[in-house]
């Protein structure tokens, strides 16, 4: 039987139509009924009745028209929407009648929602949003790897990978560095990408250049590589969008490059570099000595990362067999582009932030639930009357939930506005490069959906308690009551909420306390050098000087001229510097120990330093001596190692009797020379940039003349304000060569500050959230106590009238409030313990068992509770017994 069943879909559609048309239908229906009645009456008249009789008879035969209209409405509208609409209107009316309550609730929620939205935006942009490249899941990094982890790769290996692998459609070397862009009204330091020619095409796939072309493959050979592509933003800012920029010659690091293309306004314009320059390899650069190349690749369509890893394993196994001296133990690791440089700490920090703001929202919910409960007490009679008039429990619960969800949505809307402001602050205090550069933090649709969900969930969450209360109350009991309210259970519930608030706040404050303590510990750490009063900059000369002698002479004479600047007390130059970014690293052996496998040698940071280096930076020599002018080419090769080096290599030998063998570095040549035995003449103190817990790295220092280097840091110790020497020193640089770039001009203190910026960022955010939590918790306990006192005004008045001292009244209110606070604190200690445990790795400088932060936090919380209770307590004490008793 294929009878068309009554389908719910048709019914729904018909109802929806009816709902939309509304009262217009009423009239049509009414008209129809009236007509029917009329016809009936006419018929009765025709049968001989009087008109009056006919009308009555017609009505009798027809039945109740009002009931029919109701039937019709029930049939033709959507009951749930109708009811929701009614509930909403009612909610708006009730809330606007108590604006103070509504404002407090909305504000608490706005704070909670704002912090959640802001942090979720960051988390979403970092972990969840797709990267802004076409087929971004095909983009990967390919690292060399051995037992100790991943590493950059060598040029010779890179070209073999290209030849032998089959998983990638293209593989490219990438490398970013600062270059000096000369010309125009002033030279400028910009980041440049030195990459094999295909990289711009791979990264900007799908976005054709605005002008000109990308690189040709042959521009990756020496001699053809003097071409440059401008990013869209650089073209706009520095070249004013000049349409004739193509073919222009621009000077970059004193060399001339021809502009061949300008990129379109594409996502790859967000990348941190603003110039693309092809990377050409001369034959001597293609060797297996230097692991300094970063490789990016695009997977062939349909190839997974696992397949690519398997493919690369074949390739590297083959290479290890063919080049055992350099490649034994080296494999490769193919990793997705997303967050490849995001360290584990940042990831944990972000997720913990999300957890922290979740707590803030929970506390806000508890606060609002409390407010609602308090108001519920005042509304008991209203609700009881509604119950008595026939409203079902469900209807009342529904009504109350509607109110709370409405509150949440209003709070949420305000919260999104606050979040937009908060995000601006967060991004301003966020250290650069904490997040990958392509991460675009903003309020997006998924973020807003998240917020909406958070709003509705929190609305239901904080609406449940009061709704449950309201549904439970016995209407009769309340209506019989005269004026004072009942509600011991209600009070218990409110206290429970405050206890929960305190527990949550304590947990959150502990997080904030720990990060603050860590920051203080870092600030107090003996860094191993003295940063105050030191002016620093980077002065590469590799573009103009090639010969070791010339380089040595240049830096020596430059240092002499800078020493002549007033208030300068000492000047040094070195290839590496504390807080000065990446250092060179070299493999080494200890003379007299078995040679072993050359590819498995340990490595250490390698620093070529001028004699004044240790003095200028205030690095202590703990044993032996510093370098002198006498340590030159031709004299005994010497080295100074640091304490960590000694600890690892010479646990029970006098290091000053030992020699260390390091391959010679030659400026301008990228392969290593022969090994040189160096007598250890001194031990320097360790440098700690990341707080007292951070482990030092092994370091080898050698005298600059014995191993010259063309890209060096200059450190200038001054007697006064370090920045005051900037202009005179810049004048010295200009007098030597106006195109000579003075890069990253800072004071040492500024450099040190950037190394702790991550910790500061975490602290500021955690601190802010903890503060909001503290505020909300304090407000919560204040609300409960104030309400309790207000409810007991009568009783308190009576007691005062009967002779109770005001001091006793205060004491009692305080004891009451503090009991709640202390219980919450006790419960919160458990949460705090877990937070402290999970944050152990994130807070350098704080030992796991250190109770300082916890004690401070508990004291703060209890203090806040005390203040919050004092106000209601003093109000209780000032109750005028006569007024209170007359209140009835």
């Amino acid at each position: 039987m294929s009878a068309p069943r009554p389908s719910w879909l048709r019914t729904f559609a018909a109802r929806l139509r009816g709902f939309v048309r509304g009262s217009r239908q009423d009239e049509g229906f009414d008209e129809e009924l009236q007509e029917h009645l009329w016809l009936l009456a006419e018929r009765f008249v025709a049968q001989g009745m009087s008109p009056e009789e006919a009308v009555t008879a017609a009505r009798r035969q027809f039945g109740n028209t009002t009931l029919l209209q109701e039937d019709r409405r029930a049939l033709q509208t959507l009951p749930s929407i109708e009811i929701l609409w009614r509930d909403l209107r009612y909610a708006v009316r009730t809330l606007s009648r108590s604006p103070g309550f509504a404002a407090a609730a909305v504000l608490a929620l706005a704070l909670g929602i704002a912090s959640n939205t802001a942090i979720f935006s960051v988390v979403h942009a970092t972990f969840l949003a797709p990267l802004p490249y076409q087929d971004s899941d095909q983009l990967v990094f390919v690292w060399s790897s051995n037992r100790s982890g991943r590493s950059a790769t060598t040029a010779a290996d890179f070209f073999e990978w290209r030849r032998r692998s089959s998983a990638f459609s293209e593989l490219h070397v990438t490398g970013m560095r600062m270059v000096n862009l000369a010309g125009g009204d002033r030279p400028e330091q910009v980041r440049a990408q030195f990459a094999t020619p295909g990289l711009p095409g791979m990264m900007c796939l799908g976005y054709p250049p605005a002008m000109g072309r990308l690189f040709l493959e042959e521009e990756g050979t020496p001699g053809r590589d003097q071409v440059v592509i401008l990013s869209h933003n650089l073209w706009q800012e520095r070249f004013g969008g000049d349409p004739n920029v193509l073919g222009q010659a621009i000077r970059i690091d004193s060399k001339v490059f021809i502009v061949v293309g300008v990129l379109g306004k594409a996502p790859c314009d967000h990348l941190p570099w603003r110039l693309w320059i092809p990377r050409a390899f001369s034959p001597d650069q293609i060797n297996r000595d230097f692991r300094n190349l970063l490789v990016m690749a695009r997977l062939k369509p349909g190839v997974s990362i696992d397949q690519a890893n398997a493919d690369m394993k074949n390739v590297t196994d083959g290479l290890a067999r063919e080049f055992p001296a350099s490649n034994t133990g080296w494999g490769a690791s193919v990793e997705p582009l997303r967050n490849n440089f995001l360290n584990a700490n940042t990831k944990t920090t972000l997720w913990m932030m999300l957890g922290a703001v979740g707590f803030v929202l929970l506390i806000a919910c508890a606060n609002v639930a409390n407010l609602l409960l308090a108001r519920g007490t005042a509304r008991q009679r209203e609700l009881a009357i509604r119950r008595a008039l026939g409203a079902s429990r469900r209807a009342i619960v529904r009504q109350l939930l509607t109110e709370s969800v409405l509150l949440a949505l209003v709070g949420g809307t305000l919260g999104v506005g606050l979040a937009a402001a908060a995000m601006r602050v967060i991004l301003a205090v966020m250290p650069p490069f904490l997040l990958p550069s392509e991460v675009d933090v903003r309020l997006s649709v998924p973020v807003l959906l998240f917020t909406l969900t958070a709003c509705v969930l929190s609305g239901v969450l904080f609406g449940l308690a009061p709704a449950w209360q309201a549904a439970r109350t016995d209407a009769n009991a309340i209506l019989k009551e005269t004026g004072r309210s009942v509600g011991d259970g209600r009070h218990l519930l409110r206290r429970t909420l405050v206890v929960a608030e305190f527990a949550l706040a304590l947990t959150l404050l502990t997080g904030g306390g720990l990060t603050t303590q860590s920051l203080i510990a870092i600030a107090r750490t003996d860094l191993g050098y003295r940063s105050e009063g030191v002016f620093t900059f980077y002065l590469p000369v590799d573009e103009r000087l090639k010969e070791a002698d010339a380089i040595d002479t240049f830096y020596r004479q430059f240092a002499e001229r800078v020493s002549a600047v007033p208030s300068v007390t000492s000047v040094s130059y070195s290839s590496g510097m504390p807080a000065g970014g990446a250092w060179n690293a070299v493999p080494f052996t200890i003379a007299g120990r078995g040679g072993g496998d050359r590819s498995q040698r340990p490595s250490a940071r390698f620093n070529q330093v001028s004699p004044a280096y240790f003095e200028t930076l205030g690095i202590r020599i703990v044993r032996g001596r510093a370098f002198t002018e006498a340590d030159r080419i031709g004299t005994v090769p010497v080295a100074i190692v640091n304490e960590t080096f000694v600890k690892r290599q010479f646990p029970d030998v006098d290091p000053l009797t030992q020699r260390v063998v390091v391959d010679q570095f030659n400026p301008g040549v990228t392969n290593l020379g022969i090994g040189i035995e160096r007598q250890i003449v001194g031990v320097s103190s360790d440098i700690r940039n990341l707080g007292p817990a951070s482990e030092g790295l092994p370091e080898i220092h050698v005298p600059f003349p014995q191993s010259t280097w063309a890209r060096n840091w200059i450190a200038v110790r001054t007697a006064g304000d370090p920045l005051s020497v900037h202009q005179p020193i810049a004048a010295v640089v200009r007098s030597i060569d106006p195109d000579l770039p003075m890069v990253e001009v800072r004071t040492m203190d500024q450099l040190v500050a950037t190394t702790t910026s991550g910790a500061r960022f975490t602290t500021i955010l955690f601190g802010a959230f903890a503060f909001v939590a503290l505020l909300l918790a304090a407000l919560g306990i204040y609300g409960v106590m104030a309400f309790a006192v207000a409810q007991r005004t009568h009783e308190i008045g009576l007691r005062i009238a009967l002779g109770a001292g005001r001091g006793r009244v205060v004491q009692q209110v305080l004891r009451d409030g503090m009991r709640t606070a202390i219980l919450g604190t006790l419960i919160g200690s458990v949460g705090a313990y877990f937070v402290a445990r999970s944050m152990r790795g994130m807070v350098p400088g704080v030992s796991p068992g250190d109770p300082t932060a916890f004690i401070v936090v508990v004291a703060t919380l209890i203090g806040a509770a005390l203040v919050a209770c004092l106000v209601p307590a003093s109000r209780a004490a000032s109750v005028d017994p006569m007024t209170a008793l007359r209140q009835e």
Partner: protein, 113 residues
């Protein structure tokens, strides 16, 4: 009329209206009520208003359609007519009804053994 009887009647009323419209073509509510009165020979005493609830339900299911027109005495009236879907439904429901009534008749005739 208590609630249970009226529920049974609702279903049968729908069926009777469908059949009426099928047999007589477009009619207004008053006409349908008259026809039912006539056919049931006054056995069926119903509030004529319930016809309209029935008509609404049938309309919602798409079994009948309505159109404003002019009645015999030149007044505005709504005329209902059965749709193709309604005819199908009528056939199905009639079969159904007959089967059930056969069964019931048989059961009621059972004598105690």
């Amino acid at each position: 009329m208590d609630k249970k009887t009226s529920e049974v009647l609702q279903g049968t009323l729908d069926l009777m209206i469908l059949q009426t419209l099928h047999a007589l073509g477009p009619l207004h509510g008053f006409g349908i009520a008259r026809r039912l009165e006539q056919v049931s020979r006054d056995v069926l005493q119903l509030n004529e208003g319930t016809v309209y609830t029935s008509l609404l339900r049938l309309q919602q299911q798409g079994w009948i359609t309505a159109e404003w027109g002019t009645s015999e005495n030149n007044r505005k009236a709504k005329f209902y007519s059965i749709t193709a879907r309604g005819r199908k439904q009528l056939v199905a429901e009639t079969e159904n009804w007959e089967r059930i009534s056969t069964v019931i008749r048989r059961v009621l005739r059972l004598e105690p053994e």
